[in-house]
């Protein structure tokens, strides 16, 4: 059964003077899902959220919530609510009045407001805090009040702008789980903005990765991680060893590649010979071997080993000074420091990506490709 889209962004553009902050964004948010918008600072994710909320107006394109275009609607007329990064609690009102505000604006009856507020506060585990003022609360408590204030209005979509940024690590992890449970319990659609990829991977049903105003990829976490579709996503999500390579030979799905530091094998579809591509392989999938492996001629020296509890990361330096990370579980056999090793991986574990610009392509035509052939 196809998921119903509750928020749709069609060809949305946002410009501040000469600065194009969001570029031709097309995105759908499905009803009931937890969608994270992930990206580095300045990628346009917060701007996108604010456009859905109504604090910014798009320069072009349309935004639909529940099928209705919302360009002409002020924030107070939309069925979405926002949890602000700074919480934005009203300092002159008690916790109760803060949470009740939205209901008061809709002119609900006093008894109704009272029961709804109490219910919302118990959902965020703040019963008994009604008469306190924001200045008397800790960061984590203020955060919960901000959430309660938003969800008490039973919005169709809840927008969260990096809500956990100001909390310490332990509290953050705890809140991540609580928010996830809350979302499932209330069955509200969550659109969650963050720059923390671990957070996004943990909490989301789907992740939308943005960079420089462009949507790079939108998919379920496992796909984003295992099959990044652009160099940026491969680089931003998790750790990866990234290579520039030229396609030498294609046999069915097995592709032989030549790189600056040697040859390797990958798999993929839709590539053609002599194409310049990127190859990305995760450190946990990268393997070392004392003897050369068929199809691979990458060779390097293991410079150092870093132990971080459950994992051991080995840094290997190839002939062209490129640093490779190899992660193994602590206790498992790992390459010894100082030894020369051959690099390899299972061809299916490498992700091949088309290079994004034609500039690189034309540059390749001028370069002496013999430098890319395997060294023996």
């Amino acid at each position: 059964m196809p998921d119903k889209a509750i928020v749709q962004l069609k060809h949305v553009d946002k410009q501040y003077g000469d600065n194009r902050v969001v570029k031709d964004l097309n995105m759908e948010v499905y009803e009931g899902e937890f969608l994270s918008i992930l990206g580095p600072s300045g990628c346009g994710k917060t701007t996108t959220l604010r456009m859905i909320a109504g604090f910014e107006q798009q320069s072009a394109g349309s935004i639909l919530v529940e099928g209705e275009a919302v360009e002409n609607k002020e924030p107070f007329d939309r069925n979405v609510n926002t949890v602000f990064q700074s919480y934005a609690l009203f300092p002159h009102m008690t916790v109760f009045d803060n949470v009740a505000f939205g209901l008061k604006m809709k002119r609900f009856k006093k008894q109704v407001i009272k029961s709804e507020v109490e219910q919302a506060l118990s959902l965020v585990q703040l019963e008994g805090f009604e008469k306190r003022f924001p200045s008397q609360l800790s960061g984590g408590q203020r955060q919960r009040v901000a959430i309660a204030r938003a969800i008490v209005n039973k919005p169709r979509v809840l927008l969260l702008d990096e809500p956990l940024g100001a909390l310490d690590m332990k509290l953050r992890k705890q809140m991540q789980i609580e928010l996830k449970h809350l979302q499932k319990k209330l069955a509200i659609t969550f659109v969650y903005v963050t720059h923390d990829q671990e957070e996004a991977l943990t909490m989301s049903d789907r992740i939308a990765v943005m960079n420089g105003g462009v949507l790079e990829q939108i998919d379920v976490p496992s796909e984003i991680y295992e099959h990044p579709r652009t160099k940026f996503v491969a680089d931003f999500i998790g750790e990866s060893n990234l290579f520039e390579a030229v396609v030498e030979e294609i046999r069915d799905e097995s592709i032989s590649l030549s790189m600056e530091s040697g040859s390797a094998v990958g798999t993929g579809k839709g590539f053609f010979e002599k194409e310049l591509i990127y190859l990305s392989v995760r450190p946990e999938k990268t393997k070392c071997s004392a003897v050369p492996v068929k199809g691979f001629s990458l060779q390097g020296v293991v410079r150092e080993s870093i132990f971080i509890g459950t994992l051991l990361t080995s840094i290997m330096v190839l002939q062209n000074e490129q640093q490779i990370k190899i992660t193994t579980l602590a206790g498992q056999p790992s390459p010894a420091v100082g030894t020369t090793q051959y690099l390899c991986w299972a061809p299916e574990d490498a992700v091949l990506m088309h290079s994004a610009s034609n500039d690189i392509f034309s540059a390749v035509e001028n370069v002496d490709l013999s430098t890319f052939t395997a060294n023996k």
């Binding site: 909320a53 107070f76 609510n81 700074s86 939205g102 604006m105 209005n153």
Partner: protein, 294 residues
């Protein structure tokens, strides 16, 4: 023996710099504020002899004079003028301060400069400019007559309204500055949050903006109301003989009538009114630190 020396030396090294720094101001303010005000209180109970010298007797007659109906009318009039001035300053000053707080930093500095610039020049001459403008043959009447709005020149000068205009003109920045400080401090996120939760512009203003900027309004009120009680030169220039305010009466006691004890008594009453207002201000949650923030 050695222990004693040590502690006294320690105390001296900590106390000495503190005393050097703080004693000048303490001395100055005691000699030139506390003592003069106390002296004022003393002579308010004194009387004068035939050659207008102060005779240090103890009498209530200066205060008894306050119950004179003419004087009470003047006090009343002064309070009304001060009150209307303050109210109008708030009504004009608040939107102005709001616009200033919400605009770009460049425009904000520009607006601030242009607001303060007139106050670097002579108040008297500017008020005289108003006298020229408001006169029966002045420009305002001229333009109104030419355009046809009025048939006869309006009598604007030497009225209570002219005095209020002059007061507003002179005290306007003292309302705008504390208001601007308060509005500037308002977190814009709060207004977005209110809007997100369903509050339209008007309700957002009354539920969020106004309560959170109230301290600025209170500070501005104090900074306008109190001075306007004593600004005798405004009523002098624009009110003429008709609009006599309490400041004028006090001034006359010292420069013409030479009845200093009476003038002192009138001033003491003024101080009491001031103290009352400050009390109300602090009770209403006003922070005394916010006064005088220019």
């Amino acid at each position: 023996m050695r222990m004693k020396l040590k502690t006294s030396h320690k105390l001296r090294s900590k106390m000495l710099p503190l005393i050097t720094m703080v004693s000048p101001v303490t001395l100055w303010l005691t000699l030139l504020i506390v003592i003069p005000l106390l002296y004022l209180l003393v002579i308010s109970f004194a009387s004068t002899d035939a050659s207008h010298n102060i005779e240090f007797s103890f009498t209530f007659k200066n205060y008894a004079k306050l119950l004179d109906p003419t004087l009470l009318t003047i006090y009343g009039n002064s309070l009304v003028v001060a009150g209307l001035t303050t109210v109008l300053c708030v009504l004009i000053g608040y939107p102005f301060a709001y616009i200033m707080a919400r605009t770009t930093p460049f425009r904000k500095t520009l607006m601030m400069i242009f607001l303060m610039l007139p106050f670097w020049t002579n108040s008297i001459i500017r008020l005289y400019g108003w006298r020229t403008l408001l006169g029966t043959n002045g420009y305002i009447n001229n333009i109104l007559e030419t355009v046809g709005i009025i048939k006869e020149p309006l009598n604007m000068l030497f009225t209570r309204e002219a005095v209020i205009l002059g007061m507003i003109y002179t005290l306007f920045p003292f309302m705008v500055l504390p208001l601007h400080t308060a509005i500037d401090k308002l977190d814009k996120n709060l207004l977005e949050a209110a809007s997100d939760l369903g509050a339209r512009a008007v309700r957002s203003f009354f539920h969020i903006t106004l309560p959170l900027t109230a301290s600025g309004i209170f500070a501005g009120v104090i900074m306008v109301f109190i001075p306007s009680l004593g600004y005798f030169f405004v009523s002098d220039l624009l009110g003429g003989g008709k609009s006599q305010l309490i400041g004028n009466v006090i001034e006359r006691q010292f420069k013409e009538a030479f009845n200093w004890p009476f003038g002192a008594a009138l001033s003491i009453v003024l101080i009491l009114i001031t103290l009352l207002l400050v009390k109300i201000y602090t009770k209403a949650g006003g922070n005394v630190d916010e006064l005088g923030v220019v």
